[in-house]
């Protein structure tokens, strides 16, 4: 790597700080239950696992000093920009780039004709052209690229590219998608790269027990059947897609990029660039949030194509509106659910059909469908189950990964069903859920046994038992605390309080036979008279706090205080994706394995040199320590000038794909559960909502960094709140209508209530340290509790989210 590149990557070099300031705040509500952990770890360092050292990026981000991928600069750098389709479906009759090429300062204008390698890429199914070929399938699809010496030059040149379109009627509704003979194919049958057919990307059926038949239905005393709808949510990360591609002397490319999985980016990019993978080197740049939106490629291939073509470094930064077109969203869903129960509240059967709109390209749709089908009946024991989940191809924006991944949409439906069932049976909604809650030893509808703690009923009880916030005090009104807040719409008029409950289930890690292993390299050496450890992984730090946790693990395992984190890049093996709540489990697990190997190597070195025979040796406080005989030697003296540097892979236990027709199979690595109680005030006349409090109880197995755990749960709840009451990409006839933060609304601090968090630690014996992935479960579970609370306040059915003021005032 040349000197210039070294300078750039320092942006993303992390150094973990040891501090105890993090102990303030956020933790007062934490309660720890049960067995602390599976193994006895002597805590040599207060900033080891179980502590809450501050994140190294926190202060920088708050002060605006963190270097994001969009802040990178390189001498002689060009700016790349894409021309995007204004139509959701059209044939491209011609593309004329001659005027754009004449703009002074323009170095290249590229179309798909200029792609040196394979023209298609994709996460699971390679169905997406790197640049549109003869047709566009969604509003905002990239057609041509410009590289110029200034972003404004590039912008002007983009406008001079002439594209002749034959505009076609977009295929956007379920009815249109499922009738391709009449409405057309998003991908022509002969172009099909997915296993689906018609305009279906993927489908998954599931049957367990006796399925759902009229005989089974007859066993139920009460049957509830309803349709539900979930709008298209966006990840709404704040740092737009951006990166810098630098052509290298060996003909390869160095790409500095904000992403979620360096190695899979590379795997998709190399064939398009016609380069061997080893010549495509990726280094993680500062990531401004991800939430699944960076799992797919955005500008990676585009910047590299332009860099290859011009021989110059090329930077691409999306504007905010382009960002809305440049990444996939959460699948909007239409769902039909039917539940039957006995008079005493026992579930007899559950039937569901989930239709997810996958948009123009496959992205992660197959895996999202697998999750929807396998998790879509919730954390309940149901003797007879049927399910069909499908994802459509359409000319709507592509949808793929977003926090909660296929489990979110279904949770809104099954939890709404639980409330309706409780109402029909005149039962307490929490008691109904507890009566049917799954527990360790029970079976999922997939036939997979839950073989670690599943305290679903207890989580519900915990949120129910938390003290309620005081009622609204109309004599001492703080207007900021009521619906409308400083918009001054109410001085107490029309406000009704409601309370709602929910619980949800999410899997951790990649499923259905995928071996999403993680790699970690740990090094120990003496620097400045102190033992210093270094952790090197390809894990994308997207804000989840993985770099903090890695240092904690190494402190605990190696008994050192100083830990540095190497920039994440492709020089080390894959760390898998920063998604599916998996990084602490998977890459944390790899760091643990590598650190354990380094510890063993240090001890073995001592054994060889000093002939130690004790079996009770470990590393604590920078020394080799025998439990029975005390300190034997300092690591500094033992290592001298030598470094120990070892790499290990961590694989989770294997899973298998679900049977296509029955949905049976040991498909998931781990399950995670969160319960919520929402208290809302609704201005029932104006249809405005203020969430007063959103309580969460979650089993995290083991909290490696309790402060971060609480932060993840609060963040997940907030994103769920957004889906409940405001966040939706509005698409009409295939066109995105609100590609801005002016009109795509996410919660502000005035929308975000206090979120008391009750953290349970029930270790999972299959997981490193017993931990459970944390980030997604609250995003799955919290939305339905808020909607339930709004229902309680208004008495309305509310079968669609986000709930808009129009739904509450009958003015849609």
């Amino acid at each position: 790597m040349n000197e210039r590149s070294e300078r750039i990557i320092q942006h993303s070099a992390w150094r973990s700080h040891r501090t105890s300031e993090a102990r303030a705040g956020g933790l007062s509500t934490r309660t720890i239950q049960g067995q602390k952990n599976l193994q006895d770890i002597r805590q040599a360092s207060k900033d080891g696992i179980g502590g809450s050292p501050l994140r190294p990026d926190g202060t920088l981000k708050v002060k605006g000093e963190f270097a994001y991928s969009s802040d990178m600069w390189h001498e002689d750098m060009l700016w790349g920009m894409a021309l995007r389709s204004p139509h959701p479906r059209a044939n491209i009759l011609s593309v004329d780039i001659s005027d754009a090429l004449k703009v002074p300062g323009v170095y290249a204008v590229l179309t798909h004709d200029d792609i040196p390698g394979t023209k298609y890429y994709g996460l699971e199914i390679q169905d997406q052209p790197a640049l549109a070929i003869d047709k566009v399938r969604y509003h905002g699809e990239a057609i041509a690229l410009v590289a110029a010496d200034h972003p404004e030059t590039a912008r002007r040149a983009v406008k001079k590219i002439k594209v002749e379109y034959e505009v076609l009627t977009p295929i956007v509704t379920e009815e249109q998608c499922l009738n391709p003979e009449v409405y057309g194919y998003v991908h022509e049958p002969h172009e099909y790269k997915s296993h689906g057919s018609g305009n279906i990307v993927h489908s998954q059926k599931l049957v367990s027990g006796g399925g759902v038949t009229d005989e089974i239905r007859a066993l139920a005393d009460v049957i509830i059947k309803s349709d539900y709808e979930v709008g298209m949510q966006d990840q709404a990360f704040l740092g737009p897609e951006s990166g810098l591609a630098v052509p290298a002397e060996d003909g390869g490319i160095d790409l500095y990029i904000a992403t979620q999985w360096l190695h899979v980016d590379r795997q998709q990019m190399a064939p398009v660039l016609a380069l061997p993978e080893e010549k495509v080197r990726l280094t993680l740049a500062g990531v401004g949030g991800a939430f699944g939106g960076r799992e797919d490629l955005s500008m990676q291939i585009h910047a590299c194509l332009l860099a290859q073509h011009t021989g110059k470094p090329v930077k691409i930064v999306y504007a905010r509106d382009e960002s809305f077109f440049g990444h996939v969203h959460r699948h909007p869903a239409k769902m039909t659910y039917e539940h039957g129960a006995t008079r005493d509240g026992r579930l007899v059967f559950a039937d569901a059909r989930i239709v997810l709109d996958g948009g123009a390209y496959a992205s992660a749709s197959p895996a999202v469908v697998g999750n929807a089908a396998s998790l879509g009946h919730g954390p309940y024991v149901i003797p007879n189950v049927r399910m069909e989940a499908i994802a459509l191809y359409s000319n709507n924006p592509s949808c793929g990964a977003m926090r909660g991944f296929g489990a979110v949409q279904a949770a809104f439906a099954y939890e709404s069903q639980m409330d309706k069932l409780a109402a029909a049976l005149d039962m307490d909604p929490v008691e109904l859920r507890q009566l049917n809650a799954m527990a360790e030893g029970d079976y999922m509808p997939t036939g997979q046994q839950i073989d670690s703690p599943a305290p679903v009923a207890e989580l519900l009880q915990r949120v129910k038992d938390m003290p309620l916030p005081p009622p609204l005090d109309l004599d001492n009104l703080d207007i900021r605390q009521i619906p409308g807040a400083l918009s001054n719409t109410s001085h107490g008029e029309g406000i009704v309080r409601g309370i709602g409950y929910s619980v949800g289930i999410k899997n951790v890690g990649f499923s259905e036979g995928f071996d999403d292993y993680s790699t970690a390299r740990v090094r120990i050496e003496v620097i400045g008279g102190e033992p210093v450890a270094m952790v090197h992984t390809a894990m994308a730090e997207v804000g989840q706090g993985g770099v903090t946790v890695h240092a904690q693990i190494v402190r605990t395992e190696l008994g050192v205080e100083q830990v540095t984190i190497h920039p994440a890049n492709t020089e080390v093996g894959s760390a898998g994706s920063t998604s599916a709540s998996r990084q602490t489990y998977m890459t944390g697990g790899a760091v643990k394995l590598a650190a354990e190997a380094v510890k063993q190597a240090v001890i073995d070195k001592g054994r060889r040199r000093y002939g130690w025979t004790q079996s009770d040796l470990t590393l604590i406080g920078g020394k080799v320590v025998s439990e029975s005989q005390g300190a034997l030697i300092s690591v500094v003296d033992l290592l001298g000038d030598e470094a120990i540097d070892l790499t290990r892979e961590h694989h989770h236990r294997p899973t298998v794909p679900f049977d296509k027709e029955t949905g049976q199979g040991f498909g998931h690595v781990q399950y995670t559960f969160c319960a919520n109680r929402a208290v809302v005030d609704v201005d029932v006349e104006l249809g405005l909502v203020k969430v007063v409090e959103l309580t969460a109880a979650q089993d995290v197995g083991r909290a490696l960094n309790p402060l971060s755990v609480v932060g993840q749960i609060q963040g997940g709840c907030t994103q769920a709140l957004g889906l409940a009451v405001m966040e939706e990409i509005i698409v009409k006839d295939g066109k995105v209508r609100n590609a801005s933060f002016t009109d795509y609304l996410i919660p502000t601090i005035l929308d975000t209530p206090p979120i008391p968090v009750d953290v349970l630690e029930r270790p999972d014996p299959h997981a490193p340290y017993g931990l459970r992935g944390v980030g997604e479960a609250p995003t799955v579970s919290a939305t339905p509790s808020i909607v339930a609370a709004i229902r309680a306040a208004t008495g309305l059915a509310l079968n669609r989210i986000p709930v808009r003021p129009e739904h509450l005032t009958d003015t849609l």
Partner: protein
Amino acid sequence: MEFLRPATWDEALAAKAEYPTALPISGGTDVMVEMNFDVHRPSAILDLNRITELTEWSIDGDVVRLGASVPYSRIINELSGPLPGLALAAHTVGSPQIRNRGGVGGNLGAASPAGDSHPALLAAGRDVFVEVASVRGTRMIAIDDFYVGVKRNSMEQDELIRAVHIPVADGPQQFSKIGTRNAMVIAVCAFGFALHPKNGTVGTGIGSAAPTPRRAVEAEQYLQGVLAERGLWESGDLLGTEVIQKFGELVKAAASPIDDVRGTADYRRHALAVMARRTLTWTWNDYSKQIRSAA
């Protein structure tokens, strides 16, 4: 693109005369967003930030002369007494950062039906004037003549907004705005209301529910009639639900909203009626208290 930075008001007028298509910028909270989204590509930008008089206000007798660039945060902190309706509206503008930069001049210049100042200015009375100037001279445009179309005002190309003249409140004023979140939101619709006991009138202003900000004329006339006929200005007696209800319906009828991504026309009409009833109730309750404590 030309970037013009006049140091004085006269230089600014001269620059605007020379570059009539120049887009004036002060706080930039609207202009910069539109440029960022590539909505506007002005040939020239006229930066008014060096002209300090635009960020000053004064009270002359019964009228506040509010410099075009006085930021919303200062309107809230310094003028909530004389201009309570406008101060309430200022509270609903964007975020603290935006309120520190943006001012009423920008709202008037953009003339968006969703601008938060407009309903409060309309409600403050028919004797609110926008002071505009050019090298040709100064004009006082009555607020009722200012808004002429969607994002269009009655200014000439060579004119700049210098100040707004707003009567000091002589009665209670209120402002309500609907947004689909509890802060930092563009109005789905908004309503400004003011009682003017000195001349026995009431003021209304509707935002985001018609091509321009507009007054609910019939609602004003109806209420003024009721207040006069029943001697309510003097007695401060209760209005009664029928009057409040009718007022709400007339405000609703005055709107001509559309369906868009922020809300439906039906919702806007419905919400305007609710806000009209509530703001009338709040102001009248305050007024009656004043009357009774004076009695």
